[in-house]
Amino acid sequence: MKSEQQYIELYQEASDLIKRKSCEVMNAVRDEAFQQFMSIGFPTRKAERYRYTDVATAFAPNYGISLAPLDVKPSLYIYTIKDAPIDVAPYYHKIADAHDPITALNAALVHDALLIHVPKNTLVEDPIVVDNWLRGTSPTMMNRRILIIMESGAEATIIINDREGQGARGEEQARLLTTQVIEVYCHDNARLDLYEIEDTTPLCSRFSNVYIHEGRDCSVKHNSITLFNGQTRNLCDVYLRGENSEVTLNGCAIGSGSQHIDNNTFIRHEVPHCTSNELYKYVVDGQSVGAFAGKILVEKDAQKTTSQETNANLCASSDARMYTQPMLEIYADDVKCAHGSTVGVMDETALFYMRQRGIPEAEARSLLKNAFMGQVIDQIKYEPLRQKLYVKVEKRFRGELEKCDDCRLCK
């Protein structure tokens, strides 16, 4: 049986139930999204944007679908979509690429969505934190949907954590599959720092698609940090649609064991005078697989574009694999675009220097890896998160992260 079939049957059986639990604005696009999914199915590895992740296999096991309602503490800016203070119909499933199979499947199956709405000229000082606790005793599929609307002049920091949930000791854990679609709309002059931190277990598979729209004079920073996971595929599409905007995409990924981390980004410069910066770093150890594909497209009239894309990778074991694919597609002539990509080993002379001075080899290696990742962590503006990540990354390289939940520092 093809992997798609069980989802098609699931939808045919459960669509009425999902629709009842959901709301009008989500149901409005549901059937069309399902039709779209039926016609395209799961992508094969021949599809350019899915070269490095075998989607059909990840979706093949039989998962139960979770329809639990979202647990949202009432606050000023966070709502479930049913309680939206504004009309979300012009936003929901509009910027998301309807032809992407994961997005289409998510739109068909998702029953509830989170809305973060920051009103005009409002500065939200404390970060808005979304925690996803992942834990389950039977194989479960979760479909998550987040809509972020930054009105003009709004400013906020949003942290989305994927973390291992607390459960009873000795409880046997099952595989979990997550699809996530985040749509971000930044109106003129808005500023957003969006952090996505994944620190889960090898049993978790995650397929996340982020779509960002930027108006005039906007600034968006998106940080995607994969500390610990099973299989991850992150897609991030940015559309620069107003002049003088900028976007920064940062990412770091640490792989060990048989983890799989695939980041796929696409930045589309549609108007002149925009800036984009991209920095992704990977350390792959064990039999893990890292993949990075980043495309920057500069349209014909997007003159005076400045763009820099950097991807640096460390292969730490002989079984680890790294795929990288930084791409430029440029149709305007007055631009400055550059990309660089490296895959390499640790500097032997630096290791030797440290060992000379009495630092044990393992320690020296861990110091070097830390310094390598430090460049990405340094970019994090929100101080407490930055400090926490320094500690977490260090622990991760020492292989102590599994113990981390019990220590006070990381709480």
């Binding site: 350019e48 002989s318 430029l328 597609e329 440029i330 631009v335 550059a338 990509s341 080993v345």
Partner: protein, 482 residues
């Protein structure tokens, strides 16, 4: 940069100077492609049965495939039945067989192209195999080379005279099932060159092949096979032109290179097929599979290409670095203007230990053209200590053109060091200003900068070939500005 700049104008409005046709009687077989046509081609070339079977098998595989469309080019749907797969300009009128004498028209054609077929007139130090349409017209200096044991002849002759060598190596680097166009070529290939350099021999002269498409509604499917045995060296050059025609002409070639222990091959291409007119009508579709297999330890292969012609160029001269300590280089300048499209680059497959590769690619786009670099660097699991450096720069002359970079890196070994960098920009305003300050006009300054930009690669071309290459490049890159 403004389009009024006369340098840019001269570059984009440049006329194609090799667009003449030769009025010579040419025997062309009927259009269409089927097993009978393949049998006919094989029969005309008096080929042994194994080669016919090789062709038929390739053809049957080709039938099961569809034309690929993943390139960043607008490849038209090609009607493979509207092409004639064999055109022989050497057959005399009224005679069934080939004349011994070369038709003076053909001699004149190659003279006009700057490739004299008379040995006494030829540039000393270069042996030429001249191929028109489907047939090799003449190979010069054959005897002189054979004194050293070097075999340099057309592939049809090689099949007759050295069947064992051909059978051993043909299809061993680019198998017929490699890709769609490789399968097509393996089914219908006509002439190309065969080079065999025996052990411990340094080829005393540059070997070169000049390809010319002349006949209407034909395609050229040449096949080149170069085998460089242990401890030997050869430098091989390839040039190509075609007349101006309104319809697209298909050129689907295969080049296979085998490099043994301690051997070195330099392969240089100056590709100047007809690029189509200013509106993008006509031009050659250049769909070529080129690959070198560095089988031996310490072997070395270097691809240098200067791509100025063709409506569509879609090719990736590649290297399989199988032998330990082998080295590969790829130097490319691709110039596109008007409505030309190029999607070219290289593949470096590192399999042996301590293998090294360098990729230097320079793209220049003008007019409405699209110029893409696409390259793969793969480091296999056992390729310890592999090293790659890639650099691809694109220069944009004009606001209607595009420059794209699609590098792929697949690394399966933790001791590999792979670096890639790419930049895309227009001509640096500061450099222009610097030249202007010192009394150099903007036109001249642009000429200087573009020329300097491509020099890295042009300098890699062998000196002996400089006569044609320099002439072509000065026309392509500098226009009226010296």
């Amino acid at each position: 940069m403004s389009e009024s700049n006369s340098f840019v104008r001269s570059l984009t409005e440049k006329k194609y100077e090799f667009g003449f046709t030769t009025d010579v009687h040419t025997e062309i077989i009927d259009k269409g492609l089927n097993e009978d046509v393949i049998r006919l081609i094989s029969e005309k070339k008096r080929e042994p049965d194994w080669l016919l079977q090789f062709r038929l098998e390739s053809y049957r595989y080709w039938l099961t495939q569809t034309q690929p469309a993943w390139g960043h080019v607008h490849l038209p749907e090609i009607d493979y039945q509207a092409i004639s797969y064999y055109a022989d300009p050497t057959v005399k009128k009224g005679q069934g067989s080939k004349g011994q004498e070369i038709d003076p028209e053909l001699m004149k054609t190659f003279d006009k192209l700057g490739i004299p077929l008379e040995e006494r007139l030829a540039l000393s130090g270069t042996a030429v195999d001249a191929v028109m349409d489907s047939v090799s017209v003449k190979t010069t200096f054959k005897e002189k080379l054979s004194e050293k044991g070097i075999i340099f002849c057309s592939i049809s002759e090689a099949v007759k005279n050295h069947p064992d060598l051909v059978k051993q190596y043909l299809g061993s680097v680019v198998p017929p099932k490699d890709n769609y166009f490789a399968a097509l070529n393996s089914a219908v290939f006509s002439d190309g060159s065969f080079v065999y350099i025996p052990k411990n021999t340094r080829c005393p002269m540059e070997l070169s092949t000049y390809f010319r498409i002349n006949a209407r509604n034909t395609g050229q499917f040449e096949r080149t096979l170069i085998v460089c045995d242990e401890g030997s060296y050869v430098s091989y050059l390839e040039g190509c032109t075609a007349p101006m025609r309104d319809e697209n002409q298909l050129h689907a070639a295969i080049v296979e290179i085998v490099v043994m222990d301690n051997a070195e091959v330099k392969y240089s291409t100056v590709q100047n097929w007809y690029p189509g007119d200013a509106e993008g009508r006509g031009g050659v579709l250049n769909l070529v599979t080129k690959r070198g297999d560095l089988r031996g330890v310490n072997s070395k292969l270097s691809w240098t290409q200067v791509e100025t012609g063709s409506a569509i160029t879609w090719k990736y001269p590649s290297c399989v670095l199988r032998g330990d300590n082998s080295q590969a280089e790829f130097y490319s300048v691709a110039v596109t203007n008007n409505h030309q499209e190029a999607d070219t680059g290289t593949k470096m497959i590192h399999l042996g230990k301590n293998t090294r590769s360098t990729i230097i690619s320079k793209g220049i786009s003008a007019g409405h053209s699209q110029n893409s670099y696409r390259g793969l660097v793969r480091v296999g699991k056992h390729a310890d200590g592999a090293r790659n450096y890639s650099s691809c720069d694109s220069l944009l002359l004009g606001s209607q053109c595009g420059a794209h970079t699609f590098p792929y890196m697949d690394i399966h070994n933790n001791t590999a060091t792979v670096e890639h960098e790419a930049t895309t920009s227009k001509i640096n305003e500061e450099q222009l200003f610097y030249c202007n300050q010192r009394g150099i006009s903007t036109e001249e300054a642009v000429g200087l900068i573009v020329n300097g930009y491509a020099k890295d690669v042009i300098n890699k071309l062998p000196m002996e070939f400089a006569v044609e290459a320099q002439k072509l490049l000065s026309v392509s890159l500098e226009g009226t500005v010296g």
